[in-house]
């Protein structure tokens, strides 16, 4: 498969407000599905749907503890990309 196509697919996962908010929340550590929904004021099913997308794309990884599922960022790259983008737009705003 074309790597540029894969790259654009990869960036799509960052290109949604709900997912970016989830990623932002997970920057500080693992959080359960219900806690994500509560803290971000989202419906549980919205969170589950988006978590599945993020999980499938290897942006987050799940850990089961009893009947709860805790999600965390998959690796350092995710935070790095998040922060590079953030730096860019803050830089642009500062002008």
């Amino acid at each position: 498969m074309d790597v540029l196509f894969e790259l654009s697919e990869f960036f799509k996962f960052f290109g949604d407000t709900t997912r970016i908010r989830i990623i932002h929340l997970l920057l500080s550590g693992e959080v359960s599905v219900n806690d994500i929904a509560e803290k971000l004021n989202l419906e549980q099913s919205v969170v589950s749907h988006q978590l599945r997308i993020l999980r499938t794309a290897n942006l987050v990884k799940p850990r089961r503890d009893g009947r709860k599922m805790f999600y965390s960022l998959d690796d350092e790259h995710i935070g790095l990309i998040f922060n590079t983008g953030l730096t860019h737009i803050l830089h642009k705003k500062g002008k």
Copy 2:
């Protein structure tokens, strides 16, 4: 405006095959609209439409030379984000 919303909007620009291919092409320097269309085998109007999006979002900047318009990446962050994403997916593939 919420900075997380802006950030997701920003990443959206990378989340399209046509735009990623344009960004990739511009990594090696400025290119005219027709040359972009020709090298990427795209219709001219597709390129113009996407360039307007990229220009509005400050991802690329135009320079007029006669009747030609040359486009280049706006700043280093664009290439940095591109490469960080690329590194990530190549890293994932390597596993």
